[in-house]
């Protein structure tokens, strides 16, 4: 006969066996609450903002970048002074419909040019680097649910680490399944079927609930049929998985996706042009998918990079680590347009733009305006944003 100790061991085994997406997503569906989702896009490596949102009317831009500037004729015009990199053309439909926002000149005090240090600052939302937990980890602590946000990718970024736990990473939705180790099915059924009372009864009930929720989540995930054709590639696959998680109704408040390779020290035009194309085509498909599934109303995307790049090109037709850069947001909940003033390219700080918008203000609007959370508590202060939400 199975005793209480065996039951707990088997329950732990069952939990271990069912680890991954179904279990924690089922729990997320039950606990996270709220109908709105924030999708965070991390552009790793330091995306060059000046060749992303191009100041095409500014002679200083072309003077600083004789070989890598985006020619005026190629720029996708957004305003009399600014336009998008041509590889971002897939996002023009969103711009035209007022669902794409650019935040100009975003940074933080005492900028750090180290990838590691600067990314940590963006992840922790703490330029003093005193905190080790991430801003999304703190969201989980405020909501009181360690499963309310996930990284869609291999390794959980610091942004999703709370003080006592780390939020989960989902490498690929299809790889997660509810499966007991071979030969344990009978023992598990016998254990679950035994009459119990007290803590053991509670555990049995909780396990059954988890399995039912898991089955529901799995069924919903199986039902997902993409509403758009995604381009090939890992980034698009991750966005498709993100759409799938949202469509499955698992209730996660924040989903996190990364695209790397923006450290364009050499041959920037070849490298960044391709990356921006990957970014734009993936995001356009993602938004179209959400639209067709009737989910676009409740999802906004917010993108950032750990820093921008220096104004002047270097000797390798690339750019080196800089300071401020641009952020972007898209979705039905976004107030489309360009928010904030462009950097003065003739008034630089050691060859870099002088930031004007603290990134924590952009975060704050996502937290309070979109997710309905206490931004002050999560960010440890009050920060004003550029007003990028509708």
């Amino acid at each position: 006969m199975t005793n209480r100790r065996d039951f707990l061991k088997l329950s732990a085994l069952a939990a271990a066996a069912t680890t991954g997406m179904p279990g924690f997503l089922a729990r997320a569906a039950a606990q996270a609450g709220g109908s709105k989702t924030l999708v965070v896009i991390q552009l790793s490596g330091g995306n060059d903002g000046l060749n992303t949102l191009v100041p095409y009317s500014n002679g200083a831009y072309y003077a600083a970048r004789p070989n890598i500037a985006i020619p005026r004729k190629d720029v996708l015009t957004l305003s009399p002074d600014l336009g998008m990199h041509p590889a971002l053309r897939p996002l023009m439909g969103l711009w035209d419909s007022g669902r794409l926002a650019w935040m100009e000149n975003v940074g933080y005090p005492n900028p750090n040019r180290s990838h590691f240090a600067s990314m940590a600052i963006w992840h922790t939302a703490d330029p003093s680097q005193a905190q080790s937990d991430g801003w999304i980890g703190r969201i989980a602590e405020q909501i009181g649910d360690p499963f309310c946000a996930s990284n869609v990718g291999a390794a959980t970024p610091q942004a999703l680490r709370a003080s006592e736990f780390s939020l989960p990473s989902i490498d690929a939705v299809d790889r997660f399944q509810l499966k007991l180790p071979q030969g344990l099915g009978g023992a598990f059924e016998q254990m679950m079927g035994a009459a119990r009372s007290g803590e053991a009864a509670y555990l049995t009930q909780a396990t059954r609930q988890m399995m039912q929720n898991t089955a529901r989540v799995q069924a919903n995930a199986q039902k997902y049929r993409s509403g758009a054709t995604y381009p090939e590639g890992r980034f698009a696959e991750q966005l498709r998985d993100t759409a799938r998680l949202i469509a499955a109704g698992v209730g996660q408040r924040v989903l996190y996706v990364s695209l790397g390779g923006f450290d364009t020290h050499a041959g920037q035009r070849a490298e960044q042009d391709e990356l921006l194309g990957t970014l734009a085509s993936g995001l356009a498909a993602f938004h179209a998918d959400l639209e067709r599934q009737g989910l676009a109303e409740n999802v906004v995307v917010m993108g950032f990079s750990e820093f921008g790049r220096r104004v002047a090109e270097n000797g390798s037709a690339g750019t080196d680590h800089g300071k401020g850069s641009v952020m972007f947001a898209l979705g039905r909940g976004v107030r489309g347009g360009i928010h904030g003033s462009s950097p003065d390219l003739e008034d630089l700080s050691d060859g870099d733009i002088k930031y004007r918008q603290d990134f924590r203000g952009v975060y704050a609007e996502a937290l309070s305006g979109w997710l309905g959370l206490n931004a002050r508590e999560i960010l440890n202060g009050d920060f004003s944003g550029p007003g990028w939400l509708a």
Partner: protein
């Protein structure tokens, strides 16, 4: 002291790979260059092994940093020249263009491509093949010349992509 068994070594290596893979992995440009230059053959964990292609391949210091040796400077100049000519090239293309050009960045008498072939450092005049240039050239040409260092083709076998 008890000797460490082969199995223990394998476990230790596996743990090191699991725990420190990201920190140990070669930087971006070396990840691209090492297979292109055929420096990875016979080493299944080459992408975690900094000895496969040392920093001194392109930098003045073994520890890397901002000072570039003559070969590193030649790569930079290649990027610049290609951009000035209106060609946007990535690192593998730039490396190939440089090696095809037949230059000898460190001025030791052995062209860069032959130094790559002989596994010496093309940016350090103190590092050069021991064999006579003519003999090495014959072997190099027979192996395919500088074309053997062409960039990998997408989806193809290329030049040693992992």
């Amino acid at each position: 002291m008890r000797p460490v068994s082969g199995a223990a070594r394998r476990v230790t290596l596996a743990l090191a790979v699991l725990l420190g893979g990201a920190a140990l992995a070669l930087p971006k440009y070396r990840l691209q260059a090492a297979p292109q230059l055929h420096l990875t053959q016979g080493n299944d964990l080459w992408h975690l092994d900094r000895r496969v292609m040392s920093c001194a391949y392109c930098h003045e210091q073994e520890t890397g940093g901002r000072s570039w040796n003559p070969f590193g400077q030649a790569i930079q100049a290649t990027f610049r020249r290609e951009a000035e000519a209106g060609r946007a090239v990535k690192f593998p293309q730039a490396l190939s263009v440089l090696l095809e050009s037949g230059g000898d960045a460190d001025g030791d008498g052995y062209p860069d491509a032959l130094e790559v072939f002989a596994r010496t450092l093309p940016g350090d005049p103190a590092s050069h093949p021991e064999r006579p240039l003519a003999d090495l050239q014959v072997e190099f040409d027979a192996a395919g010349g500088a074309a053997q260092f062409a960039p990998p083709t997408p989806g193809g076998k290329g030049t040693g992509t992992k």
